[in-house]
């Protein structure tokens, strides 16, 4: 479990809390950079778009949905990382999840927030977005719950709420640890945050029970959230989108993408926060095996999709399929297959699974492939609907590309803020993995 020998309890606290309590200029520079990138690449173009209209982006009458929506789905997908690691692996009692799950849950939360931002960017009149919530109003109007987008609104709000509570609740003992290790304002703040945690057996028991409850609750939630998001597409009758496989496809893709995201984040945490001791090869190995399994499932589902489109013989489906595989975006499609189906097969080999750099590369390629996959879904199905005269073409504009880049910066900013406010590795759970000290040592 631990690469460099087992730390003591005090060392665990010190290592993990030092990230929070000591801040050097490098952090500020990094934070400043990500914030600037976020502002320049995301917020400024967005404000421009708010003033000028959604037409500043590249969507047109052939493709009303563009990268904003495909990025939204990508970020929702990325958010399944926490769910998987935290919840599923908690239920199955995997020991190696303990050092990585907090950051994974944080990833979930921030991915969801970024995704929600994309919804705002996508809307034509975002100042009325509150109309999609069932808030009693003087117009006497209620939203349309038969709309898949309303399912989205409900599901994502629930997921966001549940994930926030989940991560907060799991962090309470660690907030207590911060409180105990700090002074002054910080101490007062964390006293409030930790709800006066004393670490009694009763409190531990309640926490364990509550945590398990949420873990069990969050798993079906995660599955349903991404299924619901996939139904934005699948409930249309657009050829290429109207497939029943979409729900499993998206859920699988989400978990896949999320897990790859965890690998990337782990690498960064390890490198920049000196957590080599707590995140070791065994974590990498297990994540690698998980990724491999998911990639095989993903490839299978892809093949199923292609097969059923072809087998059905519907002119509409075949035309969409033809455009996907051989049209303008064919290079992107094949790039996606390469990165998501073939490259991960390298993880059959131990050499790849145990190398940090190789895994980083693979995980980034997987996520690029998944980002491409969402884009392909959006860009190759809409321009090939039913009336051939209305076929067209969609190409993202500079604003969309900029906003995509900016969204990663927003995520990074949120994460950077997170590591200063919440212990990035769960202190108490790591301690659970340590062999108990011998009383006489």
């Amino acid at each position: 479990m631990f690469d460099h020998g087992q730390p003591s309890y005090a060392e665990v606290n010190k290592d993990i809390l030092s990230v929070m309590l000591e801040t050097g200029p490098r952090y500020w520079m990094l934070l400043g950079t990500t914030m600037s990138v976020a502002v320049i690449f995301f917020f400024m173009p967005w404000f421009y778009q708010l003033i000028v209209g959604v037409g500043a982006a590249g969507m047109n009458r052939n493709a009303y949905w563009g990268t904003y929506l495909s990025n939204f789905i990508f970020w929702i997908g990325l958010s399944h990382s926490g769910t998987l690691l935290s919840a599923i692996l908690h239920i199955t009692n995997s020991p190696w999840r303990k050092s990585v799950y907090r950051s994974a849950e944080a990833m979930t939360l921030f991915s969801l927030m970024t995704a929600a931002l994309f919804v705002m960017v996508h809307l034509g009149r975002v100042w009325f977005v509150h109309w999609s919530f069932p808030i009693p109003n003087q117009m006497g109007l209620w939203p349309n719950f038969r709309s898949p987008l309303m399912f989205d609104v409900m599901a994502i709000t629930t997921y966001l709420t549940a994930s926030s509570i989940f991560i907060y609740m799991g962090s309470v003992p660690d907030f207590a640890a911060v409180r105990d290790a700090s002074t002054g304002t910080r101490r007062r703040l964390y006293t409030i945050f930790s709800f006066g945690w004393r670490g009694t057996a009763r409190e531990w028991h309640t926490l364990g029970w509550a945590y398990t409850f949420f873990a069990v609750f969050v798993i079906p939630l995660a599955v349903s959230v991404h299924s619901i998001v996939s139904w934005d597409f699948a409930l249309s009758i657009v050829p290429g989108l109207h497939h029943t496989i979409f729900a499993p496809y998206f859920v699988c893709g989400a978990i896949y993408s999320g897990t790859a995201g965890i690998v990337t984040v782990m690498y960064c945490l390890r490198k920049f926060l000196n957590f080599e001791r707590y995140i070791g090869q065994v974590h990498l190995d297990n994540l690698g095996k998980l990724l491999l399994a998911l990639s095989l499932i993903w490839s299978y589902i892809n093949m199923l999709e292609l097969f059923s489109s072809w087998y059905g013989g519907s002119s509409f489906e075949l035309e969409a399929l033809k455009f996907k595989l051989t049209g303008f975006y064919a290079p992107l499609y094949w790039e996606m297959i390469l990165f998501c189906a073939f490259v991960p097969l390298l993880m059959f080999f131990r050499k790849f699974r145990w190398s940090w750099n190789k895994m980083l590369l693979i995980s980034i390629l997987i996520n690029i492939g998944m980002l491409t996959e969402r884009f392909i879904i959006v860009a190759t199905s809409q321009p090939r609907k039913f009336l051939p005269n209305a076929f067209g073409f969609y190409f993202p504009s500079w604003i969309e590309i900029s906003i995509t880049i900016g969204s990663f910066a927003i995520f990074a900013t949120l994460f950077l803020i997170f590591i200063k406010w919440v212990p990035a590795i769960s202190i108490y759970e790591v301690k659970e993995t340590l062999k108990p000290l011998r009383r006489d040592a």
């Binding site: 959604v54 037409g55 009458r61 949905w65 349309n144 038969r146 987008l149 249309s236 039913f386």
Partner: protein
């Protein structure tokens, strides 16, 4: 007893809710027929609609990015190769489907089926998710990507009976609902209860030089559209999608040799 009757009311309401369009019967069922044997593709209907409904002048740059807004457009299809090549025209506008894919899509009910069988678009409710446009198989919905302006004094021509849309709002053919409303108001004032056949004429139907289009209430068996619908050449576009459109086309006939 009370529980039973309350429950049956609820069940009744729920069944009503499930029905597409939410209505058992339509009051009027506005239908349009387009005879493709008469249509010559001259596009008089396109300009008439632009004039009547305050459609924006989109401009060359935006046309180049496929952002035109023409509620009715003529679709062209070639058949065959030179020298046996033929062209077919079909005007394509909102079909006002009774089972519209777009109506379930809108999260805020900005588009819904009204009691006259029209698929209506409520501009000031639209928040611009554009889901309806993605779901529409006929691709007859258009989005205001910008707030369009008219070079002064072209805005003097704008029809005061029709909203001018701002950016972020979806729009599409309304069967000239302003004219339908006017006709219904006139009928009410006149102490007549029903609008007579031929009283409501959308701009496109009115302008068509070959009289290819007809518009009326298909609930009225004597209306011109009801008779046209019985023609053996009648069909609906993309029938297999089961959208039950309210526009019936009459296939182009062929010359007997």
């Amino acid at each position: 007893m009370k529980w039973g009757s309350d429950l049956s009311t609820l069940v009744e309401k729920f069944r009503q809710y499930l029905k597409p369009g939410y209505y058992d019967e339509f009051d009027y069922h506005w239908t349009m027929t387009i005879d493709l044997d008469r249509c010559t593709g001259c596009e008089a209907c396109v300009v008439a609609c632009q004039a009547e409904n305050n459609l924006p002048i989109v401009g060359e740059k935006r046309y180049a990015r496929n952002r035109e807004i023409k509620w009715i457009r003529i679709e062209r299809y070639w058949e065959g190769e030179y020298p046996d090549v033929k062209m077919g025209f079909i005007p394509m506008l909102c079909q006002h489907c009774d089972d519209a894919p777009c109506e379930i899509a809108c999260p805020v009910f900005a588009t819904y089926h009204n009691q006259d069988g029209l698929n209506t678009q409520i501009y000031n409710r639209c928040i611009g998710t554009r889901t309806c446009a993605v779901y529409c198989p006929y691709e007859v919905r258009y989005f205001n990507w910008f707030t369009y302006t008219w070079d002064e004094p072209l805005e003097q021509q704008l029809n005061p009976d029709v909203t001018v849309r701002e950016k972020g709002v979806m729009e599409k053919c309304t069967f000239c609902i302003q004219r339908i409303r006017l006709a219904k108001d006139n009928a009410k004032d006149d102490d007549r209860r029903r609008v007579r056949d031929g009283e409501v004429v959308p701009a496109c139907v009115q302008s068509c030089p070959t009289e290819a289009m007809a518009f009326g209430d298909s609930n009225d068996p004597e209306a011109k559209v009801s008779k046209m619908m019985k023609d053996p050449r009648a069909y609906t576009v993309l029938e297999e999608l089961n959208t039950t459109p309210s526009i019936v086309y009459l296939k182009k006939a062929h010359a007997e040799s």
